[in-house]
């Protein structure tokens, strides 16, 4: 079967969602991890708290993955047979994938910086880890909003 332009646009959208948010999370988790190793060298007993902080920027990548998979489900790729997708529908898929892609990319990196700061704070004052987490989660809000909008768009196209 020949590839339709609409199908291609939908798949491109899924790819963008996964790629951008994945880049963001990889960089974020990496950046946070660097700080985590440093702080853990000084303070091995708080490693658990550091891991929580390191994992926070990982969620953006998961959100992007989630949107990508919803596109694949709704276009039937995961059902084994990709359905017909008009160009207009394909463009909608593409549009729906943009929020989580871009916001995921930026917010993961920014969140990682807050996490790294939180780790340094936790290293000095282990009892303040809760505050560090809260500050990092502030950034996450926007990734969650982007996920919601992406989801609402992507989920409303076929049907």
């Amino acid at each position: 079967m020949e590839l339709q332009l609409g199908q291609f646009l939908a798949l491109l959208g899924a790819a963008i969602a996964v790629i951008l948010s994945g880049i963001g999370s990889s960089r974020g988790v990496g950046l946070a991890g660097e700080t985590a190793t440093g702080v853990a060298t000084e303070n091995p007993e708080i490693t658990g708290k550091l891991l929580v902080l390191q994992l926070l920027p990982a969620t953006q990548g998961i959100y992007g993955f989630l949107i990508g998979v919803i596109v694949l489900i709704n276009t039937g790729v995961l059902g084994g047979q990709m359905v017909d997708v008009s160009v207009a529908q394909g463009l909608k898929f593409l549009a729906g994938c943009l929020p989580i892609g871009f916001v995921g990319l930026e917010s993961a990196i920014q969140q990682a910086k807050v996490c790294a700061g939180g780790m340094l704070m936790t290293g000095q004052h282990p009892e303040m880890s809760g505050r560090g987490i809260t500050m990092a989660v502030m950034v996450e809000t926007y990734a969650v909003f982007a996920l919601l909008i992406s989801f609402l768009i992507v989920n409303s196209i076929m049907g």
Binding site: V52, I62, L66, V69, I70, R131, T134, V137, V144
Partner: protein, 640 residues
């Protein structure tokens, strides 16, 4: 919800009795000694006891060194082995012996570091000698001849041929014994008669003589063999020392007990150091939970009938430290509050109000009945088998409750390992986040509004308790009217009532935000400023959309795993086994990552949205003089 009421203890006693009194207080674990203020503070003196902290440091160091031989696991969740008083007494008698063992370990460590130094020197020499193995003569042998001048040295390889040619007319021999990078190591023999001619030639070829100062009568290979033998000796010695250290591992239990006894003694000294003293008396102040006051008086009087004890309520300008006392369920949620910041003494302990919301929000975000069940059952089994009381593992208990809430919401969302197994239930719980998201989003916002209104209610309660009814009405009740009025405006049947409520709310805020002036402009201006708070309400309410987003993430990721695994499942028997393994791993991953997400986002909703409405923080935790130790639990004993 309760912050424990504190009394201020002032204790004046005989200095000779300070130690037994403090020991008794330490056993009671309910006095936090505070620094004295005012003129008595000048009398705070050096406490002269035989226990300085250096012994503790040394024992701690020894334990760290022995840690790798320690078979016993580190006590978790407060499950320390109990040490009877006789055992403690026995260890204290052996204190000198244990400290002698520590000295032995210190000597071992010193010798080890000397060995390390020697080894480095040997390695360096061996490295220098390695290229010279081909030279079959000792420096002494080289110097022995009176007629021939024998030398060893290095010459750049590129000059070697030239030098060899240049020397050929003279009675001289040059032979290569080894190479080192771009240099050749050579042996040169020149008859004394040719010395004057040969030496300048060699200098021209950049020959550098090696004098082998360390070797004496040994050839390089003999010397290297000697080095190897030395290295072997060092290794053997080191092994011996390691064995010595390991043999000390036998004494780890005594080390641990002594460590803890000393640390108790040190914290007692620390408390004594905060008291004031004269030649014969001492004065001590501190916070005691009010309910223990009588028991404490009785205990102290038993030891020292003569001393004067006074318990007072905290003065208005004093801030006692904070101790929570909650029911068994709410206690589990205390870490959430402690993770943020403690309330002020005259504020409110939000734990009990927050607990049901926390579990509910967590459940909505994890939202998979099977995950909730796994969490609740596994953790419950763990704490029951290990018999961990709630105060030692509050977090685990909290997660059990959260797991329970997750089961409830999982059934509501009809999600079980990412499957939707009960289609019949959809009639009763029409919540399908994937196919019909709007009602679910509405529900999330509704829960958020209830949560926020509860926070507002607590703020009202606090104002009323303070006797400030006007503030309760103008600052909280007005918002309650305004927000609920606006919500009713959206729904047509209640729009009329909603308009009245909203307008009432707005007018109260506009007119009564500022109540200390009659100037209408100032009042209106403050009111308008307060109305701007509308935007924060909007963002607070929208923030609860994360409940939907996180719940969706769990469900959809689980579903995606199932779709992928079902593809594997369709294969043969090995594929099916693989699919089962995959199923377990994938869902554990999903459980882990989403439980973490649910935990942090529930915390955020409590800290920012909920606490923002009423919480007055800034308290310091109650840290009594206690029996907290690192390795063992000292049973009602004392460090002497």
């Amino acid at each position: 919800m309760a912050i424990v009421k504190m009394k201020k203890l002032t204790l004046l006693g005989m200095r000779a009795e300070r130690e037994p009194i403090l020991r008794a207080l330490q056993t009671m674990q309910c006095l936090e000694v505070t620094e004295l203020q005012g003129e008595t503070a000048e009398l705070i003196g050096q406490v002269e006891t035989g226990h300085d902290s250096s012994d503790l440091q040394r024992v701690k160091w020894a334990l760290d060194k022995l840690a790798k031989y320690d078979k016993e696991k580190k006590p978790m969740f407060g499950q320390y082995p109990n040490i009877a008083p006789e055992e403690s007494a026995r260890v204290l008698e052996q204190r000198q012996d244990i400290m002698a063992l520590t000295t032995r370990m210190e000597n071992i460590e010193r010798e080890l570091s000397e060995l390390r130094g020697q080894e480095t020197r040997i390695r360096t020499s061996a490295q220098q000698m390695a290229p010279w193995q081909g030279l079959d003569a000792s420096p002494d042998a080289l110097a022995a001849s009176h007629t021939v001048m024998q030398m060893a040295g290095e010459v750049p390889t590129r000059n070697l041929q030239t030098l060899s040619d240049a020397l050929s007319p003279y009675p001289a021999i040059i032979s290569t014994v080894g190479t080192l990078q771009d240099k050749s190591l050579v042996y040169v023999a020149v008859h004394h008669s040719a010395k004057e001619n040969a030496l300048p030639l060699m200098e021209e070829a950049e020959f550098v003589r090696e004098n082998f100062s360390q070797l004496g009568s040994l050839t390089p290979s003999e010397f290297s063999a000697g080095l190897q033998a030395q290295e072997k000796d060092i290794a053997a010695r080191r092994e011996q020392l390691a064995k010595d250290t390991e043999s000390l591992a036998l004494h780890i239990p005594e080390f641990k007990i002594l460590h803890d006894l000393l640390s108790l003694q040190i914290s007692q000294n620390h408390a004594a150091g905060k008291s004031a003293q004269t030649a014969t008396t001492f004065l001590l102040e501190g916070w005691v939970p009010a309910e223990y006051a009588d028991r404490m008086t009785a205990q102290i009087k038993k030891i020292s009938p003569a001393c004067a004890i006074r318990f007072e309520d905290p003065a208005d300008d004093e801030e006692p430290t904070i101790l929570f006392r909650n029911g068994p369920v709410a206690t589990a949620f205390e870490p959430v509050v402690e993770g943020f910041s403690l309330p002020t003494y005259r504020g409110i302990d939000p734990t009990a109000v927050m607990a049901p919301f926390y579990a509910c929000l967590f459940g909505m975000m994890l939202s998979d009945a099977a995950y909730g069940l796994i969490m609740a059952v596994a953790l419950l089994a763990f704490v029951k088998v290990k018999k961990i009381p709630v105060r030692n593992a509050k977090m685990l208990y909290m997660l059990i409750f959260c797991g329970g809430a997750t089961v409830f919401w999982g059934i509501t969302y009809n999600t079980f390992f990412g499957f939707a197994p009960l289609p019949g239930l959809a009639r009763f719980f029409p919540l399908d986040a994937v196919n019909d998201p709007l009602p679910v989003m509405g529900l999330c916002l509704a829960i958020g509004i209830i949560h926020l209104f509860t926070g507002l209610g607590v703020a009202m309660y606090m104002n009323i308790r303070r006797g400030d009814v006007a503030a309760a009405i103008c600052d909280q009740f007005s918002w309650f009217l305004l927000i609920s009025g606006l919500i009713m405006l959206i729904l047509p049947p209640t729009a009329a009532v909603g308009r009245i409520l909203a307008l009432t709310g707005v007018s109260i805020i506009l007119l009564f935000k500022r109540r200390d002036t009659l100037n209408p402009f100032k009042r209106l201006l403050s009111g308008l400023g307060a109305l701007y708070g509308m935007s924060s309400w909007l963002s607070d309410i929208l923030s609860y959309m994360r409940l939907f987003g996180m719940g969706l993430a769990t469900g959809v990721i689980g579903m995606v795993f199932n779709v992928l695994i079902s593809m594997v499942w369709s294969g043969g028997i090995f594929a099916k086994v693989f699919a089962v393994v995959l199923f377990i791993v994938c869902h554990l991953f999903n459980l882990g990552i989403n439980a973490l997400g649910a935990y942090v986002h529930s915390c955020r909703l409590q800290y920012i949205e909920f606490f923002g409405k009423f919480y007055e923080d800034g308290g310091k935790p109650f840290r009594p003089l206690d029996m907290k130790t690192r390795y063992v639990s000292i049973q009602n004993a004392h460090a002497e």
